[in-house]
Symmetry: C2
Subunit: 526 residues, 2 copies
């Protein structure tokens, strides 16, 4: 494989010559716009479709993106990744989160183990454990059923699983598969744990402690906080806790836990929602069958990402359009705007996924790159965002590309008719309207009421946010970020940028500081 910097490729130079090639206002107006909507879309898994008519592309740009995909060997690199190449070069690790979905590529043998069998085996353990909790075979000391599961984890052990739980909670309730409430403790701020514990019955709660290394400061601190609460309530913590960790961690074989489910260093935290990190808590909350359906959606989407034709590979196309917007058009941020309250924390998960993977200044060989890489990612659900930061998106001085998500049906099946339409129809009407308002704008005699337009967006449309659709959505963005990392020639699977803060914080706590750090520490009375 050829790993080369973006600015050393012929395809990128070609793409730069097409800067501003498509006038979005013209392209999306009139019947030409309708034709684009019909033409510029690509099916995803689980009944989703990626629509990019309102992006600044046309056939010529798509051809240029195809050349870039070919020259940077995107699908070959993806194939190498899921077949077990050492893609995480900085840490000399394989990158195997796709294997947790169980279906892609050749067997990967590492450390003497068939990794697919390992991941699916651990998930099976978690599924069996969850079933025993649901049937009452595993209970608290009094023999009462557990009613609440509480995940203790931070970063990838929190954001992804939390976003997925919120995404499926209403769906599970409406479909009779809701088993247990889930709660999440993450922050080292003691008020986080205190607040969660205040809202639950600890005697009926099962805590899922998630730390790959078994040494994460926040997670161990919160474990201790929770153990104190259990002991104070006259309970035995070891009867209320399970661990999700690596086999080599201090948590792996401890009598402190009812059970332990394993992952390994080949699954990055931000890519771990489909491993036991998401699997334990989601199987407890909704049953293992629902989690299995979620994995199937992700696996089907992973499969689509193998297509070397950009027009038929939604995540690769999304990635390449993003590179065009970032490097050629020069847009510094991207907003993720799901029109679904269930996806309220999905943007926060994508923020980690994207910014932690590709927020880097050196390439995979440690050499500085001369082009911008990962953008700032932010977002809130629509229609809420419309009444907040959309003002800047419509009329601000910077252009921010947009990623919409919308579903035809809501999850609960409950709705209300006002002025002849349902809430769900109003929700959908709003997202359709926004796409066009951003693309075409509107001239007005009063410049304050004018909209320049020319603001690109895509939308993923689905029938309903089911477990399969959620899995497909998650895998789409994971693969998009991976492909962008390949184009930018980055290692998207390490996160050295989080280390320095950790080191300095330890030094503060040990009172080994001087200068400004000591001065700030004194001000905070540490």
């Amino acid at each position: 494989m050829n790993w080369k910097n973006l600015d050393s490729t012929a395809a990128y130079k070609n793409l730069c010559e097409l800067k501003g090639h498509v006038n979005l206002q013209d392209a999306m107006s009139g019947e030409n716009g309708a034709a684009r909507v019909k033409k510029y879309n690509v099916p995803m898994a689980a009944g989703l479709t990626y629509h990019y008519a309102a992006k600044q592309v046309d056939d010529e740009i798509l051809d240029a993106l195809q050349k870039l995909a070919d020259e940077t060997e995107l699908t070959q690199k993806y194939e190498a990744l899921y077949n077990g190449a050492v893609i995480n070069t900085g840490e000399k690790r394989l990158v195997l989160h796709q294997l947790t979905r169980g279906q892609l590529g050749n067997p990967v043998i590492a450390d003497g183990v068939d990794k697919r069998a390992f991941y699916t085996g651990e998930q099976k353990k978690a599924a069996e454990f969850a079933k025993k909790v649901h049937t009452g075979e595993i209970t608290n000391e009094k023999g009462e059923k557990f009613t609440t599961a509480v995940q203790i984890g931070i970063g990838g052990s929190d954001l992804g699983p939390r976003a997925m739980y919120l995404a499926l909670e209403n769906w599970a309730r409406a479909n009779g598969t809701f088993k247990m409430e889930a709660r999440f403790i993450s922050n080292v701020d003691p008020d986080d744990a205190a607040s969660v514990l205040k809202g639950i019955d600890v005697s009926r709660s099962l805590f899922v402690l998630v730390s790959k290394s078994g040494t994460t400061l926040e997670t161990l601190t919160n474990e201790s906080f929770v153990k104190d609460a259990l002991v104070n309530a006259g309970l035995d913590p070891s009867k209320h806790m399970v661990a999700v960790t690596s086999e080599t961690s201090p948590l792996a074989n401890s009598s402190d836990y009812l059970a332990a489910f394993f992952m390994d260093d080949y699954i990055g935290g931000r890519y771990s929602s489909t491993s036991c990190v998401g699997g334990a808590i989601l199987s407890l909350a909704f049953g293992p069958e629902v989690f299995e359906r979620f994995l199937q959606g992700a696996a089907a989407e992973d499969d689509l990402a193998r297509n070397s034709d950009v027009r038929n590979n939604p995540s690769m196309l999304d990635a390449l359009i993003g590179v065009y917007e970032r490097n050629v058009m020069g847009y510094p941020a991207t907003a993720v705007l799901p029109y679904s309250q269930a996806l309220s924390r999905f943007p926060a998960h994508l923020q980690q996924l994207d910014m932690e993977s590709n927020g880097k200044s050196v390439n995979r060989f440690g050499e500085p790159v001369n082009y911008v890489t990962g953008p700032v990612i932010f977002g809130e659900p629509g229609t809420n965002g419309q009444h907040s930061f959309y003002q800047l998106l419509h009329q601000g001085t910077d252009i921010v590309p947009l990623q919409f998500v919308g579903f035809k049906k809501n999850q609960t099946g409950m709705d209300v008719q006002i002025q002849g339409t349902s809430s769900q129809q109003k929700l959908c009407a709003n997202v359709a309207a926004q796409i066009m308002a951003f693309a075409c704008g509107k001239q007005d005699e009063n410049p304050n009421k004018s909209f320049a337009g020319g603001r690109p967006s895509s939308i993923i449309i689905g029938d309903q946010l089911t477990p399969e659709a959620l899995g497909a959505l998650l895998a789409h963005f994971e693969n998009k970020v991976m492909f962008q990392g390949f184009v930018w020639n980055l290692n998207s699977f390490d996160q050295e940028g989080v280390q320095l803060g950790k080191v300095l914080a330890k030094r503060v706590l040990a009172h080994e500081t001087e200068g400004a750090l000591r001065a700030f520490s004194d001000l905070l009375e540490i």
Copy 2:
């Protein structure tokens, strides 16, 4: 007063010549750094302090910012604003949110009414209503006390009040002033209301309907959804609802509500947390005395904003440093990072406050400006963010200025000691460490482990997040945004950018669409 564009001022030209004047790595290293921490801070209200040692400023830059403040007449414009000038020129309205705090400036008579008396009178009505709910003088039809208050509103009627509720919930519980749970319904997605209603006892719930115009689509739709639920439970909706609206709205004098509390067009939604929009729900949740303390913190901060000396006016200084970073240094985004779980939704509120106020391309006279205005604002609480997007902040290709907030004490008083330090100390150690990691970075033989540094941040430090401190924090950012609007010569108090989407959505629902909008509407089955 002289209203002029930023790029027509002499002070701005002078400031541009100071681009990159301060090398942050050098400035913050060694004893020089400690001296800066001691020197570069300014007291705020409620015991808070704004620290800007880790910003790219020195005395020369501060002098240049002072000249910019003087030439753009910032404090004069502020004074004009709170004394009732028509600052919102687009809509020809006064801007009076500071008057809801009751203390600044001359009496403002508008529409034949003393506006300060009006706002404080309405707040008194809300306070008395809340007290009657707490004492049981106002109950449900069975004579049972209300246990839950549910705000129905969107945008400024949701984000600010929700953020403030979450900010004080633990504090109120720990201080014996917690009266009722609050919940919030905002999205037109019917699953939002369905989910909130599922989690509460509607027979013991009081709904606070908030819409200034009384015509907000989302809010009226959710009101209808809630009324259906009340009727289905055999309850009389008019015994479970109050309205917060303007006196001229259709909700103002309706027998559908137990009571109505009024605001007016001189309070923008995003500036309405200190009006009845925040006052009704927060007084119900925590008691009117707590809300009064919150107002006092805001009023004290407003008072500090009158100082024409930038070194003694924290919000004006924060604003001017932001302009230097945005217009001179060219940074496109700003992250808000409170090290307090209670402030988990404070960044979402600031996102609206800032991006909706200053995300504009025309000046207050409707003329296009030739410089960038409001940045993208995003953020999550620390330490959570450290395990997520901080990778990009430390090692990404763009520099993102940072706004930290930290407190010496937590709110609940609960904590745990691990490895010799408390969680709260760990939290504080982390924020101190981050400031220095961003400012100074660290060279490493392995470029992948190198940190360039030079990434500016400020921190607001307080003793504890009390109602007064929260009020001061809120007013600080409101005033910062206002001052930036003055510098950029914008009208920060309208939001014409949200209109086009509304118009098009109505057209979709009426099936009056063609071209791409019809095509997208068909895909979404509207």
